[in-house]
């Protein structure tokens, strides 16, 4: 009898661990172990077959910083970020404000603005690739100028930024839209009764109340920009002359085309650090300056 009770108690104690075991297993096998392994390996010289050779300290990093393609890719990522992040936030905010009211006519717009989520990344990137062709592309026909989109470093980067905005549009739109709609209506109504103009209602009440979500979208945009790779692979393949080759793209090339694992591991470690810094800084700013509703 006693043994049976003990057995049941044990089972009861073990059960929650069993429920989370699959998630924990995956977290270790596919995130923590490869993460630790790649940071660790970045301090070694590595053979072509991926085996660690000998400890070399910061030698891989020194080589990386002396490498022109690395600094170029780094600068490209930064250029992309500068174009993409403001463009993304401004366009999405505008779309959200235009369709904020919950009424029948806006349902069509909601569905339309969600559409980019429904089409696959590489489908959209392929469509953009053809739309932005120089000379014979449809975009140039519409705007009436012959912009050398994919033949020129700046224009190529801009077209890739447009692609980035389009890819993120649906999700960011939904997040901000629902944040605005979930606001406490009575606060807004009270302000209106007190004679506040629409501009005042927006800047003094709505905007402060949705800052947490806005901040979240901004943070995601910056991280997406830092890590962008696959859409560029499909649209420009990093060209012309590597001008749209970003840092993660460069990591991919070193790891899987050149089998230069030493470079790949040190690039990934550096990007880990930058990503962690961005996360840390945004958490800090958020705690200081962002208004939360209670």
């Amino acid at each position: 009898m006693k043994a049976a009770i003990l057995q049941v108690m044990n089972k009861e104690k073990v059960r929650p661990y069993l429920y989370i075991l699959p998630a924990l297993f995956l977290a270790f096998v596919f995130v923590y172990i490869p993460f630790i392994q790649s940071v660790f390996s970045s301090f070694f010289s590595i053979r072509q077959n991926g085996e660690l050779n000998s400890f070399t300290g910061l030698e891989n990093y020194r080589k990386l910083f002396a490498n022109e393609i690395f600094s170029e890719s780094f600068a490209n990522t930064f250029r992309f970020m500068i174009l993409f992040v403001p463009l993304n936030i401004i366009l999405i905010m505008t779309a959200v404000l235009l369709t904020e009211k919950e009424r029948k006519g806006n349902r069509i717009y909601e569905t339309v603005f969600m559409l980019p989520m429904a089409m696959g990344m590489s489908s959209i990137a392929l469509i953009f690739k053809y739309m932005f062709r120089p000379s014979v592309g449809i975009i140039n026909r519409i705007i009436g100028y012959d912009i050398p989109w994919t033949n020129d470093a700046f224009w190529a980067m801009l077209s890739v930024a447009f692609l980035g905005v389009f890819l993120d549009f649906g999700l960011d739109y939904l997040l901000l839209l629902s944040a605005l709609r979930n606001l406490d209506r009575s606060v807004v109504e009270a302000a209106r009764l007190d004679g506040a103009s629409e501009v005042q209602v927006f800047s003094r009440i709505k905007l402060p109340l949705i800052t947490p979500t806005l901040f979240f979208v901004l943070f995601i945009s910056i991280k997406d920009a830092l890590l962008i790779c696959a859409p560029i692979m499909v649209m420009t393949e990093g060209g012309p002359f590597r001008s749209t080759q970003t840092i993660v793209y460069y990591y991919y090339i070193e790891a899987f085309r050149n089998s230069n694992y030493a470079a790949a591991y040190s690039i990934s470690t550096l990007v880990f650090i930058i990503a962690a810094l961005i996360t840390f800084l945004s958490a800090k700013i958020e705690r200081q300056g962002v208004h939360y509703e209670s």
């Binding site: 059960r15 929650p16 661990y17 429920y19 989370i20 699959p22 998630a23 924990l24 995956l26 096998v29 596919f30 995130v31 490869p34 993460f35 790649s38 505008t94 779309a95 235009l98 069509i108 717009y109 909601e110 569905t111 339309v112 603005f113 969600m114 559409l115 980019p116 429904a118 089409m119 990344m121 590489s122 489908s123 959209i124 392929l126 469509i127 053809y130 739309m131 014979v136 449809i138 140039n140 026909r141 549009f169 999700l171 939904l174 997040l175 629902s178 979930n182 890590l227 790779c229 696959a230 692979m233 499909v234 990591y251 991919y252 790891a255 899987f256 591991y265 990934s268 880990f272 990503a275």
Partner: protein, 271 residues
């Protein structure tokens, strides 16, 4: 006031047109002949109307296998993810156990490690396990539903615990409670997560590209970039493929719009 309204209306319409344009252009281009693509100035509409491109892509011996692979991996990973997510979120919201907070943060922290930078290590793991060119290899890295666990836990905690208590008192086990109360109550949230998980798998690019070698194992998002028509400058079949893949998703989204909005209203971030 009227003029202001008209300006806002036109601006909204303009936004919608810009967003819809790539889709409409892709539809139109799916009827283009090879020479239509080379015409200057660029064409909006095809010179003649025929389903030649659709016939071509459907006759391509890899196109349907690509779709099958995507559907199979999408469904497999969605089902596994949802089971893992519900089980873990359930344990985190209804059980008190040692290391609960720590283990929870271990799972949430994975969200901050950019997975594209783990490709090398994960590739080696899958390679050593002999899972290259298998469905399990393709889905392996997207099976951890960290953000869903985070949000489902939050959601489960918002359900009054008295329901759980009385169900347990009546002798319902965990499985019974999850299936007959928790899942029905969280329908909007769980179905939104399932849709999102399916789309994430369906759209993933870098990983499936790495772990598949044979054309018959490729998923459709990689496949359409390799259909091989681009070399002959005949892009029509590629656009036909894009449209064929898009139609079911379009219907799914229109059908799911209400539920997605509902899930968002309940505070689910839908990452």
């Amino acid at each position: 006031m009227k003029a202001e309204k008209a300006v806002l209306f036109i601006l909204t319409l303009l936004f919608a047109i810009v967003i819809v344009f790539p889709f409409v252009y892709a539809l139109s281009a799916s009827f283009f002949s090879a020479s239509d693509f080379a015409s200057s100035p660029a064409r909006f509409l095809p010179s003649s109307f025929s389903f030649r491109n659709y016939q071509k892509v459907l006759a391509n011996r890899y196109f349907l296998p690509y779709i099958m692979n995507s559907v199979i991996t999408g469904v497999m990973s969605t089902v596994i993810r949802m089971i893992i997510a519900v089980a873990a979120a359930y344990a985190f919201s209804y059980y008190r156990f040692r290391g609960r907070t720590f283990l929870f943060s271990l799972i949430v922290l994975t969200l901050f490690v950019p997975s594209d930078l783990l490709l090398t290590g994960n590739y080696l793991t899958i390679y050593r396990l002999g899972l290259i060119d298998t469905y399990l290899g393709i889905i392996s890295t997207s099976l951890l539903p960290a953000s869903q666990i985070l949000m489902l836990r939050q959601y489960f905690c918002s359900i009054p615990s008295s329901i759980h208590d009385s169900a347990m008192m009546d002798g319902a086990g965990d499985g019974r409670y999850i299936l007959s109360i928790l899942v029905p109550v969280s329908k909007a949230v769980i179905s939104t997560f399932a849709l999102q998980g399916f789309i994430a798998m369906f759209n993933s690019y870098l990983w499936p590209l790495l772990v598949t070698n044979s054309p018959s194992m490729r998923t459709v998002q990689i496949g359409i970039t390799m259909l091989g028509y681009a070399e002959s400058l005949d892009y029509g079949p590629v656009f036909a493929a894009i449209i064929l893949i898009f139609i079911p998703f379009l219907l799914l989204f229109i059908f799911m719009r209400k539920r997605i909005m509902e899930a968002l209203r309940q505070g689910c971030m839908f990452i």
